[in-house]
Amino acid sequence: MLKSITVSLLLGFMSWASPLLQADVGSYEFAEPEMAQRFVDLTTVLRCPKCQNQNLADSDSIIAKDLRGQLQMLIKTGQTDRQITDFMVQRYGEFILYDPPFNKGTLVLWLAPFGMVLLGLWALWFFGRKTTGQGAMLTPKEQQQIEQLLADNQTQHRDLKND
């Protein structure tokens, strides 16, 4: 019950919020459609420094608005995508890139997924092994001992019952 209420509330918020959030991006005007497309692309891959889990297109924070304005200006003055991302990284660090480059700081970030796949493969192998190794094999003598023990047990059991 509670769960369904939560879900419908969330869905409600989402349908209400998303057109609103995207609305602002369309209001930046460019002379050429190619520039407008680059603006859309760049606001998608650049992260809002303030809000952590939103890109520049999504966020309504002051800094995101400023950076959208800056981005519009940089595109209009003919800067390449590379120059623009360099400009942003210089001021806000690689944090601002949603697609961070591979270097010392992001080593774990990039390699951990492969490590986890390896771990998973290992777990499959480790837990899927057949346990009929040497340990489970008995020498004829041991086999004999076991049979003896079982037989003794049965005799004992029968004796107890008869008492």
């Binding site: 303030k50 002051i62 800094i63 001021r91 806000y92 660090g93 490590g115 390896l118 480790f126």
Partner: protein, 182 residues
């Protein structure tokens, strides 16, 4: 497969999983807002702007050089700035700390009134109504405080409130800068 190779195959993934766990564990509780400023180690960006109190007075980064100082980004709409303001007054008056203000995304009359009411700890405040200087500094939001040396090189940055708890870290660096200078 030899015995040692087999043992290695069994043990190394456990070590790997453990190391990964440790790495992720030490991330718990870290403040994601505390990303290191990319300005650290670099000289203040060049800028030119009006001061808050006089539109005819133009200042640039050169006016902040000569002595170690703090550059404090503030605004009247920012509650944390109000919370730290009295502390800024205190260190400016009692410890003679040089503080420059960057009045960020604000209204001039409101900001002037604020300094009249609450006191003015700043040598001057640069009026930055559209956040242009903020972008050059890599400001994410107010308040932020930069420590610069006499040459304008940024040595440290504090995101959030400057108070008795957060000041000591900047203070020790500030004092050693003063000592090195004398």
């Amino acid at each position: 497969m030899t015995h040692t190779a087999k043992r290695l195959l069994m043990v190394s993934p456990m070590v790997m999983a453990f190391a990964l766990g440790l790495f992720l564990y030490q991330g718990i509780g870290q403040d994601p807002n505390n990303t290191e400023s990319s300005l650290i180690g670099q000289t203040l960006p060049e800028f030119s702007g009006q001061t808050l109190d006089s539109p005819s007075r133009n200042v640039s980064q050169a006016d902040m050089l000569g002595q170690p100082a703090l550059v404090n980004v503030w605004a009247t709409w920012c509650p944390t700035c109000r919370a730290e303001h009295e502390f800024l007054n205190t260190i400016a008056q009692q410890d003679n700390v040089r503080i420059f203000g960057v009045n960020y995304h604000d209204q001039k009359d409101a900001a002037q009134q604020w300094l009249q009411d609450l006191g003015n700890p700043y040598v001057f405040s640069v009026f930055d109504p559209n956040g242009a200087l903020g972008i050059e500094l890599g400001v994410v939001g107010a308040p932020e405080t930069y420590l610069i040396d006499a040459q304008g090189v940024v040595l440290d940055k504090l995101t959030g409130e400057l108070n008795e708890r957060t000041w000591p870290q900047l203070r020790s660096q500030y004092l050693s800068l003063l000592e090195a200078k004398n």
